[in-house]
């Protein structure tokens, strides 16, 4: 290729990369400009720490998102608490313990699980999981934080497995060889050398999982019950995402209610950005040269 052609090609690549960055900046600008005014109007403290969300009350609406925020955090943390150990062990199995054929088969199935649309997960949760919880735990209704946690755990499992397996596969064989040479068995080596050595990649998998769980709306909407209670494990909850999804259509354009929902969008955005930044920050502090 000619020099000019070479330069043009590289310019196109740069512009494409720039477009992605520009979109993110636009998104950030949008959320800041649309989300901040309502928070100022409601008051930071009342908005973030207010325990009552009652936006439909025309006379005296209350815009405290603490129940939604906590439900989102609990939901994501609970899902991660279930999916991360399961996902890590699955990844370890795939990356090290499994015979090649079995690994390929399980990997394919995990990918299939990743491809199940969120609304289908919700549907199964609604028709199978929720009635089961109601019967089994003898609840008035099975729609609950617990149901949301279980559905979210299933949904974030595939990306956690996939990312963790990549991280484990990237661990140099020399580390494991050193461990074997010291008289370690395979399991001892995998748990004490391979997993820790994959540290930052594993952390990225965890963060991605939590980020996905925080951001998921559709499936959760179908199983969580959607009452804006302060969250309890077996009670009905509303999350940040489901709050927006449920109410936005009912909020009058330009009303404080609609703008408060945009502010929830800002909070979600910040949460997800934080989750994504976490592994990078940890890596920088990790002290590996």
């Amino acid at each position: 290729m000619s020099r000019a052609g070479e330069r043009a090609a590289q310019a196109v690549l740069f512009l494409c990369a720039l477009a992605a960055v520009a979109l993110l900046l636009l998104l950030t600008a949008f959320f800041l400009s649309s989300g901040l005014p309502a928070i100022r109007e409601i008051g930071w403290k009342e908005f973030l720490l207010g325990r009552v969300w009652d936006s439909a009350d025309r006379a005296a609406p209350q815009f405290g998102i603490l129940p939604l925020l906590l439900a989102s955090i609990y939901g994501a943390a609970g899902a991660a608490a279930l999916a991360v150990p399961l996902g890590l062990l699955t990844a370890l199995f795939l990356a090290r313990a499994a015979p090649k054929g079995v690994a390929a088969c399980v990997r394919q199935l995990v990918r299939l699980l990743a491809g199940v649309p969120s609304v289908v997960c919700g549907l199964v949760g609604m028709t199978v999981l929720v009635p089961f919880l109601r019967e089994w735990l003898d609840l008035p209704a099975g729609d609950s934080l617990l149901a949301a946690v279980l559905v979210l755990a299933v949904m974030i499992l595939p990306p956690v497995v996939e990312l963790a397996e990549d991280a484990l596969a990237a661990v140099p064989a020399a580390y494991e060889e050193a461990s074997f040479a010291l008289g370690a068995t395979e399991t001892e080596t995998w748990f004490q050398v391979t997993l820790p050595a994959a540290g930052s990649g594993v952390l990225a998998a965890v963060a991605l999982g939590i980020g996905r769980a925080v951001g998921e709306a559709m499936a959760v909407l179908m199983v969580a019950g959607n009452v804006a209670n302060m969250p309890t494990l077996l009670g009905s909850v509303r999350l940040l995402t489901t709050g927006i999804a449920m109410e936005f259509g009912y909020a009058a354009a330009g009303s404080l209610r609609q703008r408060a929902l945009l502010s929830i969008g800002l909070v979600l955005f910040v949460l997800v950005v934080l989750m994504n930044a976490l592994p990078h920050l940890a890596r920088r502090k990790g002290g590996r040269p």
Partner: protein
């Protein structure tokens, strides 16, 4: 001069899949001596070394035939506890392969693995191993720092300390100085001099002068066979086989 034989190969054949890497090896390794294995690349000396602690097991399709014993017991016996074998026969690799952990945790890894939990016992083992590997003075005040921050030569001595921490009887060194500068190499050779009274050392090296300097016995490998073996001094000054002589004078390999 009577010497105790600790490792002994009798008609050892070794295969990587269909390819034969070792042909009918007969070789005795005396206890508490340094034995050097020399020969051109691909001659089988590293393969033989990795038979001794069964590190070759990690390669799919690898298999051994014939007899290879450690204290008279077959190394490749069915049902042999390989982890226990490797605890008694330690290994230092060509490239330093420290774990991405602190200096202390690297050395304590083996002892912890084998059940030592008490803080004071671990501290003691770590210090003793670091002293034995002649690196204590350099790292004593930064035991909690990442091991991978050390220089190449220091890393390799730390690898030796880590191997010594599980108190092996035999130390296998697979071209352990080939990635190091001459000064670091010299330090490790001096260190071997102090270790040979307590440990049996088997050393694979491409560096003929190193073999001459540190070993008391030498075996010359060529094309998967042991061409000649004997006391280092004799083998280097009066090689009996034409091929040994050719290799030593640089006409082969």
């Amino acid at each position: 001069m009577s010497e105790q034989i600790i490792l002994s190969a009798r008609g050892l054949d070794f295969y990587y899949g269909p390819a034969q890497a070792l042909r009918s090896i007969h070789l005795d390794i005396p206890a508490k001596k340094v034995t050097a294995l020399i020969g051109p690349s691909g001659c089988g000396k590293s393969t033989f070394l990795r038979c001794l602690n069964r590190m070759n097991d990690l390669i799919p399709g690898a298999r051994a035939e014939g007899s290879l014993t450690f204290h008279g017991e077959e190394i490749y016996q069915k049902g042999r506890d390989v982890a226990a074998l490797r605890r008694r026969i330690g290994m230092v690799f060509q490239k330093p392969n420290l774990f991405p952990m602190s200096i202390y945790d690297n050395v304590a890894y083996g002892p912890r693995l084998h059940g030592i939990r008490s803080r004071s016992a671990l501290d003691e083992t770590v210090e003793r191993s670091l002293r034995a590997a002649a690196i204590w003075e350099e790292v004593a005040n930064r035991l909690k720092r990442p091991a991978l921050g050390l220089s190449g030569g220091q890393q390799q001595r730390l690898c030796i300390a880590r191997a010594l921490a599980v108190e092996p009887e035999v130390l296998l060194m697979d071209e352990a100085t080939s990635a190091l500068d001459p000064i670091s190499t010299g330090r490790i050779e001096t260190l071997l001099g102090t270790l040979k009274d307590r440990y049996t050392i088997v050393l694979v090296t491409h560096n003929m002068r190193q073999a001459a300097r540190v070993s008391s016995r030498t075996a010359f490998f060529l094309n998967g066979e042991v061409v000649e073996r004997g006391p280092t001094e004799r083998l280097f000054s009066m090689p009996r086989d034409r091929r040994t002589e050719a290799y030593l004078t640089g006409c082969l390999g």
